[in-house]
Structures are given as structure tokens and as C-alpha cells.
């Protein structure tokens, strides 16, 4: 997505954010600026550099397949605004 082309309203819809027209304008500028920096970064030739996703050169931080205790349903549901029969109750999801 180019820095000019960012559609703030669309991104806000995806993120379930309700923005006023003023906010859209503010974020339009801020996000465009950030993407402008990214555009600059993208000009750097990194074809000879291997991608990393972490600062330390490491991989395969895996866990052995061993059981750990779970928490109780009571604890799991402690913050649920509505619950019933051990289930989290939410507004009906439309398929």
C-alpha cells in the first residue's frame, strides 16, 4: 500500500473503530507519514541480506509436547460479562 493511497476509513472499519471526520484527517496524515518512512526503507537494496524476524540469530524455540495444568472453568470465565453452562455468552454470531 503506498503512503498516498492509504484509506483510513477502510482500515478503521476493519479494526472496528468509529472515527470522526477530523480524526480521519489526523490519522490520514500520521499514517501517511509513517508509510512515507517505510517507502524510504523499501528503496534500500536488501537482496543480499537474509530476512530475520528477531534481533537474535536463532530459530526453533519449541516446546516438548508435555501436558501442563489448565485453569478451572471458573477462573476462565471470571471476567465474562455473561456466562451460562460453562460457556462464554456473546451476541449471536451471524453465519
Amino acid at each position: 500500500m503506498s503512503s498516498q493511497g492509504i484509506d483510513v476509513q477502510y482500515v478503521a472499519d476493519l479494526a472496528r473503530l468509529r472515527l470522526s471526520a477530523d480524526e480521519v484527517a489526523t490519522f490520514q496524515k500520521q499514517l501517511s507519514d509513517i508509510l512515507g518512512y517505510v517507502d524510504q526503507l523499501q528503496k534500500v537494496d536488501v537482496s543480499s541480506v537474509e530476512a530475520i524476524t528477531a534481533s537474535a540469530p536463532t530459530s526453533n524455540n519449541l516446546r516438548t509436547d508435555e501436558l501442563k495444568p489448565s485453569i478451572s472453568a471458573e477462573e476462565a470465565l471470571a471476567n465474562a460479562p455473561v456466562q451460562s453452562d460453562n460457556l462464554f455468552i456473546v451476541p449471536r454470531m451471524v453465519e
Binding site: D13, L14, R16, T53, A54, T58, S59, N60, N61, L62, R63, T64, D65, E66, L67, K68, P69, S70, I71, S72, A73, A76, L77, V82, S84, D85, N86, L87, F88, I89, V90, P91, R92, M93, V94, E95
Partner: protein, 486 residues
């Protein structure tokens, strides 16, 4: 105009591990709601996932079994969406660097539905190519009531493979065979129980139609809510007919998701989403990349099982069973294992295959409930081979052994209890033969007149006289000699 369908499948498979993908909660079907959960699989803020080693190895193993290229390096990504089944608002998945790419599923003859196996149009051993296999986490399960939904996180975080096929299938029967063959391989590798009823294997179907000979794909529809392999076949049959009807009447197919109603036997359009999916994938910053060359791939290679096609070939040569019997035996790893134990001590392995495939499966098609100790097959077969009982008696013993055996008697004990002995004493046999010839003037005359089949009537008489204990083969030989001498 003649139309053809173009079908691609997306299959989700739950891996068989002790624990979930990113936490140590038990990976187990069912249980009271929200009892197999912790802050990680509940998606609480601030928690850190750690991938399950065995889930990664089993996904690589699946890739190896399906002839995929295994990535040397891959990573996890966040797939962002809002839905109560995933409260952290993203699913950890793999986007542009899946663990496995390419590969294929081979549609062997027995994978097709029974009625399609005989059809000329059935393409045996067709290869359906795979696009990719990636590893992700399953989401919570929801149930819907009036005005509200209930969410259970026991399933959330279960290691899940997504296996995506190319749009290589052309008929509902090929889709059926693809799922059957894929399921067979998954069970062979012990990577999943792949039980569709338990949601361990779930399938979304993409289907479009086009005039035969046209290269360009038509507009596709996605079908959801398919809970069995036969539902996949039936829904495709319905949907293909529907699309052809629309197109041949000059209409256009809308790209939409349709829901299969198994009771009505039809698909119906689901709510059309106004916005196309935009999951805004980005690399999961909480997880390190995977490097499969640092032991993970070689661990998977060690787990590589003998695959169905190799097992089939070995059973045929090692046990001398027919190619068809070898295919049936190798269609289920449990059946093949049972056969090898059942045939171990048998002198004639083919007899055991016959007992198992013709006699046993006729009574009981579910092998998981087979209560007969495997060595009994060899014991019974050897009695028959040694001529101590005849084949009719063997069948009777077999029937008692598998379905009417309250005393849990071995075949030898049943034979003894029934007083089964096969009379091979020629003196006794000759006497019965003489009697049968004396009483069967008409059959004798027929035989003399060239009706070879008349011999069977006489043979039947002898068997009756011997109360079924005569050796039928010897009886036949004696009768023939006697009749020729008349």
C-alpha cells in the same frame, strides 16, 4: 452444451498431539466446556505462545508422505479478524512461508465410492496436486441459540493443518476419493485420527463449472458445513447441477459462500459479506522462524511409515494374496496389521486373507471391534490345509468363532466340541460311494450320457451319508473312478 466441473478442496486437519499448538493444555475432543484452557489459548492479552515440537514434526511428516517440498525455513503470521471464536483478534497461521508446498494425493481405485469403482470414467491413480500445507491454531467452538451464542475454548489452540489442493478434481466422485485417500494417509502416519464427525477433519469445497473444452475457469462458489465425505459428494452433485442449470439458461453465477443442508440435500446461499476478506497478515512477532534443517526434518523422516502403495506391493509378494486382496488389506492400516498377525503362523496365507476379507468383513465391517485373537485365523486355516476338516466345516467353525462363541473357544476346541473330523479313510468313503451309486440310478445314467454335472448330485449324497464329514475332493475322485469302471 456439455459442461464440466472444476473442484478444489481446502481441508483442515487437527493433529494428534498430547497438547495444544502454543500451550500445554490437553488436546482432547470434548470435555466440559472451558475446562481445557489457559490464558494462552483463551487469547488473554500479553501471553506468549511457544510452538509444540511434535505438531511441527507431524506437519513435516504429512508433507513427506504427500511428496511435498518441505521449506528449509518458514515462519508464522498473524491473520487478523474479529470474531468471538478468537478473542485476541488474530489467528496464528502461516501466510507466505508455509511449511510444505506442492505434493499430491493419489486417487487409488478403492478410494472411490463403491458404485464409481466400476465406471469407465473413473480415473484410477489420478494425482491431485497440492498447493500447500501450513500449520495454524484451531479456534473456539461456538453453539448458537436464539439471539445469543455460547463459546467453548477447549478446541481453541488445537494444532491444525490446512491442506489446500489445486483445482484438479472434475467430479464429486474424485472429491470423495481425494478425501478418502488423504484420510488414509493421515491415519497411516498417525498424524491425525481424521474423524469428520468429531471435526478432526473439516472440508471446504470450491466448485465452478465451464463448457467442456474451455480453459478459463467459471465463477466459483464455496460450500461449507460438510460433515462427512458422502456429504461432500452429495453437495457437489447438487451444486454442479445447480450451476449448470443457471449457466445453460443464460444466467451468471455469483461468487458466494453456500451452506449445505444435509437433511434437505441442497445448498443455500449464506449471508453475502459486503467486504472481501482482508486479513492484513503480518509476521507474528512473538514467534521465531522455524528452521527444519536443524533436526526437525530428520525427526519426521524417522517417523515415515510404509505407505499404502508400498504396503500393498509387499503384502502381495510376501503373502501371495491377490492384487485386489492386497489393495483391500492395505486400505486401512489397522486391517493390514491385523492380517499380518492373523496370517503369521498359517501355512496357506491366502486362506487367511479369504477368511478375513470374504467371511469376516461380511459379518462385521468394523475392525476396531474385532474380538477374535488374530492367531486363531492361522489355527483354523492350518486345520483346513492339513485336511483335518473340510471347507464347509471350516466355514461353520469360523462363524461360531467370530459371532457365537460365549465360551471363547479356540478353533481347535470348537472343532473338537462339534465332533468335526474329516473322514479320509477310503474304506468308509468307498462304502458311501457305492451306496450313493446304487440309490442314484438316474444320476449315474446322466453321467454316463455325458452330463458331468450329475457327479455333483452323487457327491451330495455321499456328503449327506457321511454327515458332512467326508473329504469332498477324495469323494469326487472315488466316484469318478467307480463310474468309469461301470
Amino acid at each position: 452444451m456439455e459442461y464440466e466441473a472444476v473442484i478444489g478442496l481446502e481441508v483442515h486437519v487437527q493433529l494428534k498431539t498430547n497438547t495444544k499448538m502454543f500451550c500445554g493444555c490437553i488436546n482432547k475432543y470434548g470435555g466440559l466446556p472451558n475446562t481445557h484452557v489457559c490464558p494462552i489459548c483463551l487469547g488473554m492479552p500479553g501471553v506468549m505462545p511457544t510452538p509444540n515440537h511434535d505438531a511441527v514434526v507431524k506437519t513435516i511428516l504429512t508433507g513427506l508422505m504427500l511428496e511435498c517440498n518441505i521449506a528449509t525455513r518458514c515462519k508464522f503470521d498473524r491473520k487478523n479478524y474479529f470474531y468471538p471464536d478468537m478473542p485476541k483478534n488474530y489467528q496464528i497461521s502461516q501466510y507466505d512461508e508455509p511449511l510444505c508446498e506442492g505434493g499430491a494425493v493419489t486417487l487409488n481405485l478403492l478410494a472411490y465410492p463403491k458404485d464409481a469403482q466400476k465406471l469407465e470414467t473413473t480415473v484410477v491413480d489420478k494425482k491431485v496436486r497440492l498447493v500447500r500445507i501450513h500449520l495454524e491454531e484451531d479456534v473456539a467452538k461456538s453453539q448458537h441459540d436464539e439471539g445469543q451464542s455460547g463459546v467453548d475454548f477447549n478446541r481453541a489452540g488445537t494444532p491444525l493443518m490446512e491442506i489446500v489442493s489445486e483445482a484438479d478434481m472434475r467430479t464429486p466422485e474424485e472429491a470423495f476419493a481425494y478425501l478418502t485417500a488423504l484420510k488414509q494417509i493421515l491415519i497411516y502416519g498417525n498424524v491425525s485420527d481424521a474423524d469428520m464427525e468429531k471435526g478432526q477433519l473439516r472440508c471446504d469445497v470450491n466448485v465452478s463449472v465451464r463448457p467442456k473444452g474451455q480453459e478459463k475457469f467459471g465463477t466459483k462458489c464455496e460450500i461449507k458445513n460438510l460433515n462427512s465425505i458422502s456429504a461432500v459428494r452429495r453437495s457437489l452433485k447438487y451444486e454442479i447441477d445447480r450451476q449448470i442449470e443457471v449457466v445453460s439458461e443464460g444466467g451468471t453465477i455469483r461468487q458466494e459462500t453456500r451452506r449445505w443442508n444435509d437433511v434437505k440435500g441442497e445448498t443455500a446461499v449464506m449471508r453475502i459479506k459486503e467486504q472481501a476478506h482482508d486479513y492484513r497478515y503480518f509476521p507474528e512477532p512473538d514467534l521465531l522462524p522455524l528452521n527444519t534443517s536443524l533436526g526437525l526434518r530428520s525427526e519426521a523422516e524417522v517417523l515415515m511409515p510404509e505407505l499404502p502403495s508400498a504396503k500393498k506391493a509387499r503384502l502381495a509378494t510376501q503373502y501371495g494374496v491377490s492384487e485386489y486382496q492386497a489393495s483391500v488389506l492395505s486400505s486401512e492400516v489397522a486391517l493390514a496389521d491385523y492380517f499380518e498377525k492373523a496370517a503369521e503362523a498359517a501355512k496357506d496365507k491366502g486362506l487367511v486373507a479369504n477368511f478375513l476379507l470374504n467371511d469376516y468383513l461380511a459379518i462385521n465391517s468394523d475392525l476396531s471391534t474385532i474380538a477374535v485373537p488374530a492367531p486363531w485365523f492361522s489355527e483354523l486355516a492350518n486345520e483346513l490345509t492339513a485336511g483335518k476338516i473340510n471347507s464347509k466345516q471350516a466355514k461353520e467353525v469360523f462363524g461360531l468363532m467370530v459371532s457365537d462363541n460365549p465360551g471363547n473357544l479356540t478353533p481347535l476346541e470348537i472343532i473338537k466340541a462339534k465332533g468335526f473330523v474329516q473322514v479320509t479313510d477310503t474304506g468308509a468313503l468307498e462304502a458311501w460311494c457305492d451306496q450313493a451309486i446304487a440309490n442314484g440310478a438316474r444320476s449315474v445314467a446322466d453321467y454316463k450320457a455325458g452330463k458331468v454335472a450329475a457327479l455333483n448330485a452323487l457327491k451330495g449324497q455321499v456328503m449327506k451319508l457321511s454327515k458332512g464329514q467326508a473329504n469332498p475332493q477324495t469323494v469326487g475322485e472315488i466316484l469318478e473312478q467307480k463310474l468309469k469302471a461301470l
